[in-house]
């Protein structure tokens, strides 16, 4: 920066101001001078050192987020939503993923906090005491997403996975299906999946349906392949099943193709419904009945909420804890 300053014939401080966003009590140099300075930077290939800037200003310009997996289009869409919200204000997203290993979340969060993010976005509402303590100590705003936690850390942008599951079950019931099964993951690692299952089971019971046809199959992250194996097991165990709800569209698609390979008509022999409205659900044949979510919208809202909280924090205030409920709706398609 000193080199640039010397080259242009001004002080370091003027260069600093030309490269920074203008604040109220620290006004920018003239536009003409600024252009000369930018030109000098470009010529010399100078890129300002964000590390030093962060260090001096105590503002990292970074937001940290933890998602379960990159390889799930739902979460990568949420990440894109976050990115777009932050980009509008020049903040960077530092993204980490734990492949559904929640025991890793703490370690991951620690290494994220070392980078002094100005805010944190988490997926889900189940977090260890250690995680909560670290966030508390960091004293930065937090948004939890994708669920509606009973005891939120602070802000929330989510929806009730249980209600969404129940809505889908009631939809199939209204279509006339009565011997409905559910396929999900075998562990408690995927809390959102478990909540959907509970919502489905409760809705079954409320409608007086038998609620045994519930299969826990495979460890998250669940892939397409799991769906095929699971549907075979389901039909072997309860051959008269007439419809199945899958914990995600990926599983539903796997179930669908397995049925096609066996020559079982979907929805004639078995109706299939998924969850998430993945791109594949809108395009496979037959198209999948599913629950549509605005994944990118969840990310965008979370990002915008965090921006508000960060703005407040920069001015020494604290944004009161907010909970934003994201919409979902059942989409009726050809598979049921």
């Amino acid at each position: 920066m000193a080199d640039i300053a010397q080259r242009v014939g001004v002080s370091k401080m003027t260069v600093s101001r030309a490269l920074a966003r203008t604040t109220e009590n620290d006004r920018a140099p003239s536009e003409q001078l600024r252009q000369r300075i930018l030109a000098a930077c470009a010529e010399m290939g100078y890129v300002i050192d964000q590390t030093a800037r962060t260090f001096a200003s105590k503002r990292s310009g970074v937001v940290a987020a933890v998602i379960p997996s990159l390889n799930n289009s739902n979460f990568s869409e949420t990440a894109q939503g976050i990115t777009s919200a932050l980009a509008a204000r020049g903040l960077q997203l530092l993204l980490a993923y734990d492949e559904y290993r929640e025991e890793d979340e703490e370690r991951l969060l620690r290494s994220l906090l070392m980078h002094r993010p100005e805010g944190v976005i988490l997926t889900g509402g189940h977090h260890s005491a250690g995680t909560r303590a670290m966030l508390q100590a960091a004293g930065i705003p937090v948004v939890e997403t994708w669920e509606l936690p009973a005891q939120p850390i602070e802000h929330v942008v989510g929806f009730s996975n249980a209600q969404a599951g129940a809505a889908l079950l009631r939809h199939l019931h209204a279509q006339g299906y009565r011997r409905i099964g559910f396929i999900g993951g075998s562990s408690e690692r995927d809390h959102r999946g478990s909540q959907r299952r509970e919502g489905v089971v409760q809705a079954m019971q409320a409608l007086g349906l038998p609620a045994q046809r519930v299969l826990a199959f495979g460890e998250p992250p669940l892939h397409i392949g799991h769906g095929g194996q699971a549907v075979l097991q389901l039909l072997q165990q309860w051959p008269d099943t007439d419809a199945v709800i899958c914990v995600s569209d990926l599983l539903a698609f796997g179930a669908l193709t397995e049925c096609q390979r066996r020559g079982w008509a979907v929805p004639g022999r078995l109706a299939i419904a998924g969850f998430g409205d993945f791109e594949i659900a809108r395009h496979c044949h037959p198209r999948l009945t599913t629950v549509a979510l605005d994944c990118q919208g969840i990310g965008r809202s979370a990002g915008e909420l965090l921006l508000q909280a960060i703005d407040a924090a920069r001015e020494g205030n604290r944004l009161p804890a907010q909970t934003i409920t994201a919409p979902f709706h059942v989409v009726q398609r050809e598979s049921s």
Copy 2:
């Protein structure tokens, strides 16, 4: 850190050494003391400030990568491969994506370089003069992936997309198909797609096949839906086409389901082949003939290569430019 030091009754420097990895000329305190220091950190919720550490040591512990899109499983697998290679050495991945807008790459790279990464991984081999200049000025090791650039910036982990396209064309030819079409993106934005197309066209010509059935359809990122529209247009224009190569499995899947909706047998009426061996290609019905790549392996190799280069740089040396060729192979499945 001073607080911790005071609490334990040592100097800041001893705390610093307890928290740092031991270097040769700067040895760690006794294990017992170290444990006392770590305990004090945990008690006080202290997390070391990576910003200050980076600033003082001139080592960020960060590697930056640019991929075209998060929403493409090929690239997110590569990102996972990079992450796993870096994690082994405690380095963080700072990931950015440009949604195939190469004009954004420069802007993206600038904001990445501000974080003073110790190395950079790029996707593809087509980069602007500005990008090259910035990387040159940054003086850090660079790995390009997913292509074999004619003039690499430095290191490369990739494969020839043209050869891969040609191999797939020859495979279909060997199966007996003669009126083969190609569906790809309409712009030059996706260089890898263009290279595949060129490989396919050259192989057609080499085999004496007519090479007109080449459709450029839609702007990247191409989705499943594009495949369906494109295959309709292809068959409308050249009704006697007996096989089609799609620039990615996503397009191929879209083409497949469109055929199914129209009642066209695949491969009876039209054989379909994709590219990338996405999960969907292994599970749809019929399964897709495609070109399999080790996406995660590309990421892991790129990460490991970069680690070597970073190690060399830390010791003041420079790793000679290396090119690693990643494998691909045609996978014959039911769709052709």
